[in-house]
Every structure is written in C-alpha cells, then in structure tokens.
Amino acid sequence: MSVIKVQDLHKHYGDLQAVDGISFDVNEGEIFGLLGPNGAGKTTTIEIIEGLRPKDNGVVELLNLDVAKKLQDVKETIGVQLQASSMIDLLTVREILNLFSSFYKHRADINKLMHDMNLTEKAKTLTKELSGGQKQRLAIALALVNDPLVVFLDEPTTGLDPQARRSLWEVIRSIQKQKKTVLLTTHYMEEAEVLCDRIAIMDHGKILAMDTPQNLINTYFKEKTIEIEFTEQIPQLDWCKQIPKVESCHADGQLLTLYTTHSQTVLSKTLELAAAEKWTFKDVRIRSATLEDVFLKLTGSRIRE
C-alpha cells in the first residue's frame, strides 16, 4: 500500500525550478531515501509533503489525504524532524517532550520514548547542554511523540561524527520495526545504501533514478571498479580513456577510478602506463560498484560536504 503519493510535483522560487516534475510512491513500512547534493530539491520536496510549503502544482497525498486540503488531519499522523531546527534551550528533555506531546490527540508514552532513544539519563538535562548526537536523538524523539504512522527525517545525521551517525542509524531502523514508514533525505551515500529500502537520486529538482540500492548498482554498473591511489597528483587527462576495455574513468587528485568489465586486462595495462610515467602507487583496489559510483555516473560529480 502506498503511504505517500507524489505525482508531477512542481515548485519554483523566482527563476529557480526547485522541484521540477517529480513523481514517486512510498510504500507502507519502508525507509525511502531522497539522495542528492545540497540544492537538489530534497528539502523542498519533503517540506511540501509535510505541509510546510505550498506546491505550485502536482498531486501530494499522504494516507490518501490531500495534504494541502486535510493538513490538520495529516499533522496528527506524521512526525517530523526538520533540518537544522533547534530546541527551546531552557527546557529539559522531558519538559520539551511533554510540551510537544500535549499538541496531539494520540500520544506515545514519553518514558518509553526516552528509553528507546537512549535519553532516559538526560531526562532532566536542559536541551542546550546536550551533545550533537543527543540533540538529534531528541529531535527524532520529538517526531515520535504522537506515535505517527509516517516519519519524516530531513538530513538526520548531518554534522554528526561517524559513531553518532551509526547509532542514529540503529534508531531509524528501530522506527521501521515499529511498522512506521520513514521518508528521509540525505547526501551521504553510505547512509542511503545501508539504511534505505529504496532510493530516489535527485539533482536539479529532478529524480534521475529510483530503485533499491542493489538494483541501482546492478542496473547502472555491470562493471567492476578499479581504484588506484598514487603517491602524487596525476593529471586530469583523458589518457585513461585510451586504455582498451575501459568504460569510463575519473582522475581526481591522487586517485584514479576506472570502470570496466575486464578488470585484469585494464589493471595490468594501467600499471604499465603508470610505470612508463614513473608514477608510484600506494594502493590498488578492485571492488564492485557502490551507490557513490552510480551517483557519479548519473550526475557527473561527487557529492562534496
């Protein structure tokens, strides 16, 4: 069953077409990710579905309710974590959870929620004294105070250290285990790959591809990836494309990335060429393609932080 239904959604700001005719469905119980660089239109899209922004045209339905028309009903059933929104500094974790809880008809048990989010020890701590990871867990706890059916997470792990990020992934998976549907945005490839059941890759307001992470990789990459890391910068020339059997390649600083279905031939030929140029290498890896490779192929650029 489709929980979120978006059809031909458009939104512009002045001359900028922020969302340019996208369509997708999110199914019940899945974690659906909008993946793309900053400015791709992810946040605009998610905020239109949350009812925060008006759309220009298109269909946006949540649990078969028209978001624009039935906003008050929609708000009761969704939980939202906004990108870069802060807390009320001088309230404690428990107080702010109680406050938000009082806004809803249907309420989750605050104690259990704090326990699930690993915040029980911080119940009496002022929100301004929480660490980045704790703040983010609180933001997610706030999104769950009404025991929502659909949870929206806008860049939930941005700015967190790797450990805090991984612990937040566990939290997000636990939301899915409670039979809730999750729509999240991210610009972390790894996050999208390990967390999402399905991904829509967005750039310039359009969806470039949409599928499960594995299908995306299988569809766009039958070839293997060869990465060679040199001890010095290598020129960003198209010389590597001259190597027979190479599908595509990128030279980026000290890192050379080659895609091919004939890894052995290509690798030996490349190392031969490198030896002729007197380049020495630090590391050579042959691996299956990842989502990042798909993204690179679709958008022509890496996501930079």
Partner: protein
C-alpha cells in the same frame, strides 16, 4: 486551551531559568528607581528646604529662627502657615517649623511649643531640624529660667498628599518598563523564528493562534509581576503611594502592555535576524524614553517638539499612570489617554498581523 496553557507553562519555566532576562526586566527598573531616588534624596541633604512660620514675632522667636537658619544644610523659606504646609504636602518642602501665635504668652507660662511638621519620606531632614531646634531652645531654656524645659519641640509627621518628585518619577519609570517589556518581546519572537522553532511548531497540530495567545499571556504575567515589584520597591524605599484605584491602575498597565506588545510584534516582523532586534527596539523606545515624560515633564519640552510628543504612545501611558497613581483620577478623567492607547493598540495589531513573518 490545553495547548495554550502548556505553551504558557513552558514559557514561564524558561523564564525562571533565564537570569539575564530577569535581571534586565526586573532589576534594571528597580536600579533606575533607586538611583534617581538617591539623586532626589541627595538634593534633600545638600540643601534641605525648610519652611519657617513665625506667627508671633519676638526677640526670642527671632533668636531661635536665626539659629535654625544658621544650619548650613538648610534653605529657609518663609511664608504663611497655610502656604508652607501646602508646599510640604506637595513635597516641595521637607519640613515646616511653626511658632504659634501664643508663643510669647506660653513662654511666659513656661510651656511654649515649637511645632515641626515633616514628611515621613524626609526623616533625615526632620532629625536634623529637630536636633537643631533642641540645641537652640536649650540655650533659651537655660537662659530664661531654672524650671525645666519651658520650650518643647513637638514633631508631627505629615504625609505628603500630593505628588512629590519621586512619586512622579516612579510612575514614569513604570511606564517606561512597560514599554521596554512590550517592545523587547520582539527579541524572543525573532529567536523562535530564527531557530526555526516556529517552523517546528508548524508541523504539529498546534495552531498559530495558540502560540500567539500563549506569548501574550506570558508577557502579561511577566509585565504584571514586573510592575508590582517596581511599585513595591517604590513603596518600601521611598514611601510612594498609589493614590488611585488599584484595579484601574492595573487596567492601564495591561492596556499599555498590550499596546507595546503589538508594537513588539511589528519590530519582530521588521527584524531580519536576532542581531538587529535590539537596535530596532532602541529606535522605537529611545525617543519615547526622553520625550514622553519619563524623567522630565512634557511641558518642559520645546514647543516645536510637542506635536511629536502628542503622537507617542508612551506619553499617554505615562499620563494615565500618573493620573491614577499620583492624583487619584477616575476612569472618566483618563478617557482620552485610554482612547488614544486603544487606537494605538488596534492600529499596531493590524500592522503586526499584516507584516508578521512566521518563517
């Protein structure tokens, strides 16, 4: 309703933890009162104005009067008893010394009295005057007779009925504090907006009207507390009395708070970020602070500026507060001030609703 109360409760909880806000809104006006009070009290001790009424001129009264006049801190004013007592009640004099019409006759009977009337707010003056009189009369007592104390000093405290400077000033500082509290509510709103807490509220079922009502109720609670603390301080330290109806006074305070809160919302709409809020508030509040008769009477302002003063909302709030607190005026007497404030409130509300940005 529950949502509003919970928001109000959260606001109050926050306030109790915000020491800076408490300091600036409660301690600051109190310090103003104490400092300005000191300046006036200081006036009192550097040159104490003492009225002298001699209803029975004689060498003895002349002698005593001279010895009182010799006290360097006294500035002696003479006049009729009625006139000087009136000045004492107006707070223009600290004390009045009276020699009765029968002073000489009584002195002959060895039971003459010198009466000193003083304002309880000027205890120090009274003490100095009383001991000076004692010193003066002691000489006479010793010189005239062996019988003890033919001249006694009788002191009575007279509550000033009419406005003293400090009464007038406390009412003005009350008006100023109400203005500041109302206008500075903009800072909290801008913070809520800039930290995207209003956006976070927007994705919950809580409506904007709940948020606004909670904010207004919160500011009213805060403002009424501030006003009460201010008035109690004035009462305890400088014996500032509220002559008029207390309910009417609080009514005026609430109207003033609402009016300046609405203007605070306009400022919050104009301010793009938290940094520009304070300068903006000063742009609005500074002219009123100096022109609307907080520290100097409006009549003292130059003529060309009077039209400006006539449109400033604080002028009307101060006027109404002083009318009620200092002069025991009725609601009917301040109807003009109330009307102008109500107009300001409605106009500000309309502008605020039009301008206010939730994001």
């Amino acid at each position: 309703m529950n949502k509003t109360l919970k928001l109000l409760q959260a606001n109050l909880l926050e306030l109790t933890r915000n020491r800076a806000a408490i300091f600036w809104t409660i301690m600051f006006p109190i310090m103003f009162i104490l400092i300005f009070g000191l300046i006036y009290t200081n006036n009192d001790t550097s040159k104490l104005k003492v009225g002298l009424v001699v209803n029975d001129p004689s060498p003895v009264t002349q002698q005593i009067s001279d010895s009182v006049a010799k006290i360097p801190v006294f500035e002696i004013k003479s006049g009729t008893q009625a006139d000087l007592e009136d000045q004492l009640k107006n707070g223009k004099l600290s004390a009045v010394i009276i020699f009765g019409q029968t002073f000489s006759q009584d002195l002959a009977k060895q039971k003459a009295e010198i009466i000193i009337k003083y304002d309880p707010g000027s205890q120090t003056t009274a003490q100095i005057a009383i001991s000076a009189l004692h010193a003066a009369t002691e000489q006479i007592n010793q010189g005239i007779t062996q019988v003890k104390q033919p001249v006694t000093v009788v002191s009575t405290s007279v509550q000033a009925q009419k406005t003293r400077q400090i009464d007038w000033l406390v009412a003005g500082i009350l008006g100023m504090s109400i203005m500041q509290l109302g206008l500075f509510s903009s800072a909290a709103l801008v913070t809520l907006r800039e930290k995207k807490i209003l956006r976070r509220f927007a994705v919950t079922p809580v409506s904007r009207i709940h948020i606004v009502i909670a904010q207004v109720l919160f500011r009213l609670c805060f403002g009424l507390t501030q006003s009460t603390v201010l008035l109690i301080t004035g009462r305890l330290v400088y014996h500032v009395q509220i002559d008029g109806n207390i309910l009417l006074m609080y009514g005026v305070i609430i109207l003033g708070l609402m009016m300046f809160l609405a203007m605070g919302y306009i400022i919050a709409s104009l301010a793009k970020n938290e940094e520009v809020v304070e300068p903006l508030v000063q742009v609005f509040s500074m002219p009123m602070m100096f022109l609307s008769g907080v520290f100097f009477p409006i009549d003292l302002m130059p003529k060309f500026i009077q039209p400006v003063i006539k449109i400033l909302p604080l002028s009307y709030l101060n006027n109404a507060l002083r009318a009620v607190i200092n002069n025991n005026q009725s609601l009917y007497a301040i109807r003009m001030d109330i009307t102008v404030m109500a107009i300001w409130l409605v106009v500000s509300l309309v502008v605020a609703v039009r301008l206010f940005k939730w994001e």
